[in-house]
Symmetry: D3
Subunit: 279 residues, 6 copies
């Protein structure tokens, strides 16, 4: 498949999605909103990759929503306001779904950020499992400063990631927050000197993860996401039900054997469900 | 669009989906699981229709899951059981999604049943807003009798529709329950003498609904579905937030004016969100 | 306190709120929306009454929202639609609160209906603990027929009271449903020949309840309402925590002693919290 | 194991727990509260039985909580009220756990009632999967009439079983409700002429259930209970996760083969987990 | 309106509530519990202010609950313990409501703390959106040390603000924690040298927020609070429904225009709902 | 009672559970899984202790699950996979219950860690109220590295304790994280130079807690745990209901009196519920 706003590269078990419109500061134009989820879902189902990295090109990670989208909307703000409101509700849900694809992928998704990550870019990053950045990175919940409530995920996911008192300061003011503050808040896992160093280090983390059983890692992602939204008691019950079918003694012995021999273990990949159904 | 397992007819504001494989007792073959949701989602987005009726042809509404699906699966039950389990989990979720499309449609979906509605057919009907049937209709949570736990919606939705003590008797035994018992339990709204009479009466109900503002009806569906899954306090808050944007004074005056003049009111249709995004 | 839309009478431990604008079919005018909750809250806090009956005068229980409210609103539908929407959200929440007062009262609230109970009247009745009516009573979720989604409680509470398939038919069509259908659905507990007979019978039920310990009855209301919104496990835990402080051995012995002597037991009343705080 | 308040009989795959203190109207004395859950849990873990019937002897099913328990408590109502309250909270939780054992058993539990089922007996029955009774059966949430809020499950489980408006009338008044009313409300599945006929019919239902795959039936119970406490979306997801491990193609083929041959299928039993851990 | 325990000052779009009983260490006397919520609700409805600052006078922010309240209560601890318990439950709920008013205000509420913030003061601050303090500030969940479980909000809100392991240490011991520890935990956003500097800096933050569209900021507060209590999926859906009515293209263009011209944008204020209803 | 895997010591109001199989790095063998919860539950019910410390002996806190358990399991991975899955689900639930006992104890439970805390040890520590460690301590969600999803509590409880982005990095990679990182993340409250110093300091914290009213501390634990799983509104309501029965004016006066006299207050202990029931 060909994309106009991003590129996909594979390195071993790591799929790398690269935003490649640096000349437009990787702003999120209409094509982007369908291409990103399509790319993530295809990688997920195929399951050749065991980790996904999302990075970007040029000076900035992404300038967020493309201005064209707003101008397009302006045209549209005429006529029956209630039916337009009803359509807008569905439009927002569709845009939100684009980033939910990241959350729903079976494998971890890592965001790697240089320069600015503005508005919609923070929404995207909030849906990733982990976030790493360069020293010069900065972030902004810009929507507030352009007169609107951020609506594609930041306000829904960030409060589960960093202290609420700080989420509010950042969201009410819309001010920039830089790499170091972002790390102290727990939004960023680690800061690197420059883009190259970051990509190299993040790839190592990805490989470390990809060396583990993809079934174990996928279960771990599902369980952690589940736990953030359920009681401990519900989460334990779900865990036990999951484990009933997914625990694979062979994987344990493969891992143990490899550790004894100080080798890399070799685990079979996950299956494609889409192909199976199409059968 | 052309479908191999169903047909779509429009009558005014009513879209009618007709299962049309009577020779195979409208069993749910692989094509059906993608065609039904595609049909529902297309009608929903286009919004020409304000109500959807799902009915069937031949002696029976539907025999449920096609045997071919099971035989296909048999082939597949070899190799690493955990990865197969992981794929099965996703396969089941995809099948479930087929019926969730009914629940997510903006307009009411009515099931009209003659003869047998077996296994998967009960899952489908449970996802409808209302259900009507003929005198000779009967239902069965057949899955239990063929050695498995029903997995595409019956056990999840029926307990919200009829008394739990009876859900359990019907689901544990897998026994047939006929039209009259189904109506007493609240599963069926009304029973009719034969197929023709049923379709004619159900169409009248559909037209009665279609005569109301499609925005008011759509809001009503969303609110009732929301209320079955949230506290009263959460549901009231959601209602107020919905109403803020969706209440349309024009519709109220259109309705009042028409009542005064004893005419049918004319409301504008809902909008397509998909077309808007593709713009 | 004096009310312009209702009257309060006390008979022993039973408080009786009577809507008394029969000439206007007890329509819900602006005054009503503040008077009803004020009346309920005052009776609740004072705790002289152990049951509240809400009944009405004239041919119909209530015609629902007064037309004046809509005309008033029309005037207002100009200018910045978003800020107006924000205000509307809060307005709807305030109107909803009027009926939530019924749900929050410590003592059971019984609705006694004659003739029509239209639109807002169904919202009111849905917030009551129990509903009784006369033979000639009928109900309608009229809002749908006048172009709007019902927004003060019907769609939030009715799905917890009667079968969902029927809630939907009634709400989508807005059609009338009469006493008998309402009873079969579980909305109405019992039907009586006429207004007088109904009030006499409902008063007897109220007295039967008032003869029990008001603390036991109040706990029962709180627990049932809680159970409709929580898991069994959460509800059991809440019950145990409640019982820890509220179980009163004296009441048990008072009750047992009275039963032995075949007398009416005498229980002390609940306390006023408002007075306590004002101390 | 020997019990003083009940007896266990096995008939094929059906375990039958019989309350056997008819001379004391099977009142719930201290021993009963530990014996009943012990019996249920033992049968559950051993998994020889695939259905459990709880019935009783003598004129009445059970008179509920034994008076001795109250007198015992009276003694205790002295000293520091807060610490006593804290202990009472834990005591109530322990009593509640006795009936929760019924809900947690892997196999369906059926209550078979003759004569009176008073107070605690309604709590017990509410925890059963299905309830059947004789013509002369009657029920009462007696706790209200003896000055207390029912605290071992009725108020938590009944609102999920029958219409809320009626739960409230029955719970506020504490009045008796007889077999027929109980059936109309959905509390009772079927009424039989006398005790003998009831036991014979209930045993047949139990055998019908026991003829199905115990894994399919157990999954069905778990799923229905889960669905009553979660959103449809959560329940569907849980279902898919359950099915991933529990779906057993062999059982499906066993069932199909038997149906073809018009024979009773033979399914392997569930396993004991307790024994496994003790290994 | 005149208050005996606090003063309200307006500076542009910032309302400033100042506790002004320094001689009594701004302890929370009976008047305070009604005046604070009255003040907050009035400012909220009037909507002249777009941010609220709560600060205090004298050496300490507040000593928490006034001793008089306890002595008053002592008097009261006689007679029927269960009815007293029932009243106490309602009294506690009313006290809690005083601080919930802060959470429910449409605009951000900022706490600015000097010196000690003891017991009830921590409850108050936990309900604020953000908290800033001076170097000499310290905090204590003092309730534990005076023999009671804190009951007006700290234990309910703090676990959503700072790491649970530390909430527990602080709440179990009741020990003081100073400005710096409070900031490291995420409870405090920033520390300032002295009271004057703090007020000046906090006012600047408030003005920065007030420069944004009040509708965008209010939506942001509502969404973040919602997200802390719901799943991501529910929160996204609520966001889309909110945005349908509240997104205001005019505000976006106002903001963009102002940015181009490097001017302060001018947004219209929110509306009063109370006045509207009283109309 | 005698234990083979741990020892219990009492020091005043502090119970100290010491893992005492240093020669096996305190790995979690079958006996451990029943002894730990038995010990915790006995201490809890007896209520002589007001705080529990769990510490260990030797170089490492615990190596996690004993290898023997896996080998035992291997044997078992034959035969009908679905019934084995069903048993595994129940087995996992039983193992999880062992650590849930820690969460359910009425008194705070403190984990004190030296050296490695690997796999199951992190599950155990996540269930404690607070965690302290020595400088040389390190932690690992080792399960991922041995080919499985951690299943006895880490993935369910850790996301409520430390930033999600870091939980995921640690859980996906399975890498070690040392004392300092653990403290920065909020997992560890404080780090000490060595084992002796840690035990002495942790005992002081425990005594500080034990000096407070055990009822106030127990309520605090219950409320904080409740708040992490419920909305603020539900938590406030639960708090008020708890306080109704548990607030003890005597404790407040005892505390105040002691503070005035600068003495240690003396509070009565909590009661045993088990003994009461057995009465």
């Amino acid at each position: 498949m060909n994309y106009s706003t991003l590129e996909i590269k594979y390195e071993g078990f790591v799929a790398h999605i690269v935003l490649n419109r640096p000349e437009a500061m990787n702003s999120m134009n209409p094509a982007f909103w369908t291409e990103l989820p399509a790319a993530v879902r295809a990688i997920d189902d195929e399951a050749k990759a065991r980790v996904i990295i999302i990075s970007s090109t040029g000076k900035h990670f992404s300038a967020g929503m493309d201005l064209a989208v707003f101008l397009n909307m302006k045209e549209d703000f005429k006529g029956d306001p209630s039916r337009r409101a009803e359509r807008m509700r569905r439009t927002v849900k569709m845009l939100q779904d684009s980033f939910t694809a990241i959350e729903e992928a079976r494998m971890p998704v890592i965001g790697a950020v240089q320069g600015g990550a503005i508005g919609g870019a923070v929404d995207l990053l909030s849906a990733c499992d982990m976030r790493y950045c360069t020293q010069d990175a900065f972030f902004s919940i810009k929507e507030t400063q352009i007169g609107m409530t951020a609506d594609v995920g930041t306000l829904q996911r960030l409060p589960k990631l960093i202290p609420i008192g700080m989420v509010k300061e950042l969201a009410y003011t819309g001010r920039n927050f830089a790499a170091q503050e972002a790390q102290q808040l727990g939004f960023i896992n680690e800061i690197f000197d420059d883009h190259e160093q970051m990509l190299s280090a993040v790839t190592k983390v990805a490989q470390q993860i990809a060396a583990n059983s993809p079934l174990a890692v996928s279960g771990t992602k599902t369980m952690i996401n589940y736990a953030t939204e359920h009681t401990v008691s519900e989460s334990l019950d779900y865990m036990a039900t999951w484990q009933a079918g997914m625990f694979h003694m062979e994987d344990v012995f493969t891992a143990m054997e490899a550790q004894k021999k100080q080798q890399q273990p070799e685990f079979p990949p996950l299956h494609s469900a889409v192909k199976k159904i199409a059968q």
